[in-house]
């Protein structure tokens, strides 16, 4: 394949949360096919800076697919066209020379746009604060290995823990539902011994916060799981529903 390519980029620009945004088209040349998508945006930003223009703001951190910061909707797909790949892991060899690439932020009411491609995902933090944790006495050495756990449970919890909280599921969902995210956290925490103490309240509290934030309802479309860069299984939503119903049945409240 050729070493360098040129692209036409249609990028969403928005000054701040009160302003109206719009698409602006840029051309960029001499992009190495080995570069990542974010590195390409860095180069575009350097060009803009040299011309005295405000660079395109976007979230990023680890740049290797594990932190959940990057949040780009590329050509109508959360994190772009590749399966189980975050935007920062997406490499330019997947885009043809001369292609037009459309880049947008996550579009969901609970994720207001702060600037350009940066959205406010603190709604996820508030859902976690509502119940996505375990309480534990720290300080001493816990007897972690004394409680036997079947390997398939450990694996199921671990697979659910792979969720990086990026919000692609919300962006991909036509209703902006956060059920995959909440389901992943519930599955991760409620299956293991340490999560049992708060198990009964966890699902209800997290779902209550999720509704308060304005996330939509789940209609079993499955776009979330299909687009999830970590491949979180749609079944976590079933686990979440089961946890919620069980909690309602077994609740101490009358």
């Amino acid at each position: 394949m050729e070493k360098e390519r040129a692209y036409k980029l249609r990028i969403w620009r928005q000054k701040d949360s009160h302003s109206k945004g719009k698409f602006v088209t840029y051309t960029i040349n001499k992009i190495s096919t080995g570069s990542s998508f974010l590195e390409m945006l860095d180069i575009l930003n350097e060009d803009l800076l040299k011309k005295g223009e405000d660079p395109i703001h976007f979230d990023h951190d680890c740049r290797e697919g594990i932190c959940g910061a990057c949040s780009l909707y590329i050509n109508g797909r959360a994190h772009g066209p590749e399966k189980e790949t975050t935007a920062c892991q997406l490499h330019m060899r997947h885009f043809k020379d001369g292609a037009t690439i459309t880049v947008e932020p996550w579009r969901a009411r609970p994720f207001p746009i702060i600037k350009d491609l940066v959205v406010d995902r603190s709604a996820f933090d508030r859902i976690l604060q509502a119940g996505g944790f375990i309480s534990v006495n720290t300080g001493g050495t816990p007897d972690a290995n004394e409680i036997p756990i079947p390997k398939y449970i450990a694996e199921k919890a671990f697979d659910a823990a792979a969720c990086i909280g990026c919000g692609a599921c919300v962006a991909a969902c036509k209703n902006a539902s956060a059920m995959l995210f909440v389901g992943a956290k519930i599955t991760q925490l409620s299956l293991l011994p340490q999560g049992q103490v708060e198990r009964r309240e966890r699902a209800a509290k997290m779902l209550e916060q999720m509704d308060k934030e304005g996330f939509g309802s789940c209609t079993n479309t499955g776009a979330c799981s299909a687009e999830c860069p970590k491949g979180i299984d749609l079944a976590v939503i079933a686990t979440l529903n089961r946890e919620y119903l069980t909690a309602k049945f077994k609740s101490e409240e009358v």
């Binding site: 000054k15 701040d16 992009i31 190495s32 080995g34 570069s35 990542s36 974010l38 590195e39 860095d42 180069i43 350097e46 800076l49 040299k50 005295g52 223009e53 405000d54 660079p55 703001h57 951190d61 740049r63 290797e64 697919g65 910061a69 590749e82 790949t85 892991q89 490499h91 060899r93 702060i114 600037k115 940066v118 720290t138 300080g139 050495t141």
Partner: protein
């Protein structure tokens, strides 16, 4: 950019001693640089060295042919391959510590036997492990890592050897803390890799996780609670003179950067600074190089404050300003690293001084003169920092020369 010392550097400038800045870890198994446009070097997990075999071609001619694509790695017969770690260190082989593996990779590449387009890469080969254990076993162990490698390089590690090269990783230094994890600023605690405490001069695998857990789970619950119990909990408001002074200093710094209106971008300066440190304060250091680095950093820093270009205002989300403030810190930290490296005239852990090595080229410590932690104290402005030495006294352990042969 997100987690690169700015927080602890600013605490340092307000009175927290900074310990052991010269000990920087170079991780041996990173995906090699593909070009100037790169923003980071992706780490391949160290666990790969459990099964992979590190090698380069035996001769420069063969390496040259591989670099040009005239022959492929898999075409080389066993006698044409140099499994150099296994050859030099028979007992530890591919499992030598990170600094040893990194330095050896650098040596063979400096000799002209490196592979990859740039010549700055060595092979990490799973052919023998796959033959011995079967592809399925290797997949269950390293599947996600191999997938990550393929995403980035488009090479399939099940069929061709991986290419790796050393790259900058964590640092062992950080804020000086006592055994309760409190810095020299009363009430300021530093836990995990932000402090200097657990790693001495070198780090092993999974250390960041270990230190985060050790400090956060086991130590702080005892120590920070005790400190809080002695506090009065008086109300502290933004009206205090100390706060107002600190706020005005920050605003002045921001305003200086915004108003410079120069002609070079922050990233350009950041890359230039990085190159100086990688070249002179990287895997291998010497007095002449370090002195040169110190001057180059000073010159570049002076140029930065004259010519940096920051777009936008302070009152909006401004990533250029944020980067500019961080890079301003990096200049200062970089200079302290070089100073610390100059001062420590021995080779210890992640700090290798060419002037202090054994006849075989291994690191040679000088325990008589350098058995201490270097805790640097900020003096303000451009004044030289003051070195405080915390003696390291070993009562039950006998200090010896490291050997992995």
């Amino acid at each position: 950019m997100g987690s690169n010392a700015t927080a602890i550097w600013r605490a340092h400038k307000r009175g927290a001693l900074f310990a052991n800045p010269c000990f920087t870890q170079i991780h041996p198994t990173c995906i090699p640089v593909h070009g100037d446009q790169q923003s980071k070097l992706t780490l391949m997990s160290e666990s790969l060295r459990n099964d992979g075999r590190v090698w380069v071609p035996k001769t420069k001619e063969l390496a040259g042919k591989i670099r040009k694509g005239e022959i492929k790695a898999n075409d080389l017969r066993e006698e044409e391959r140099d499994y150099y770690l296994e050859r030099i260190y028979p007992s530890f082989g591919n499992l030598v510590p990170r600094d040893v593996a990194s330095r050896n990779a650098k040596h063979v590449c400096d000799e002209g036997r490196g592979v990859g387009e740039t010549g700055l890469a060595v092979f990490l080969d799973f052919r023998d492990a796959i033959q011995r254990d079967g592809e399925d076993t290797i997949r269950s162990r390293y599947g996600n890592l191999f997938q990550m490698y393929e995403k980035i390089t488009a090479d399939n590690p099940y069929k061709v050897p991986m290419m790796i090269y050393p790259a900058i990783h964590y640092t062992m230094g950080g804020l000086w803390v006592d055994y309760n994890l409190m810095t020299t600023i009363p009430g300021l605690y530093a836990a995990g890799e932000a402090n200097f405490s657990d790693h001495g001069s070198n780090r092993l695998g999974a250390s960041a996780l270990m230190q985060g857990l050790a400090d956060g789970y086991f130590v702080l619950p005892y120590t920070i609670g005790d400190y809080l119990a002695h506090l009065g909990f008086e109300n502290v408001t933004n009206e205090l003179p100390e706060f107002k002074l600190a706020e005005s200093e920050v605003r002045e710094r921001i305003s200086k950067l915004i108003n410079t209106k120069g002609d070079r971008t922050v990233d350009e300066f950041h890359k230039a600074l990085g190159k100086i440190l990688w070249e002179y304060c990287g895997m291998s250091r010497n007095e002449e190089g370090l002195k040169k680095a110190k001057q180059e950093i000073r010159d570049l820093r002076e140029e930065y404050w004259r010519r940096v270009k920051v777009i936008g205002t302070n009152e909006e989300l401004n990533m250029t300003l944020e980067k500019a403030l961080r890079v301003a810190d990096f200049f200062e930290l970089g200079e302290l690293m070089v100073d610390d490296a100059l001062y420590r005239r021995e080779s210890c852990g992640g700090h290798f001084r060419e002037e202090s090595q054994t006849p075989e080229g291994e690191a040679k410590r000088d325990d008589e003169n350098f058995s201490y932690v270097s805790a640097w104290e900020y003096q303000g402005g451009d004044s030289a920092e003051v070195l405080n030495k915390e003696s390291l006294v070993f009562e039950n352990v006998k200090l010896t020369q490291r050997s992995y042969k």
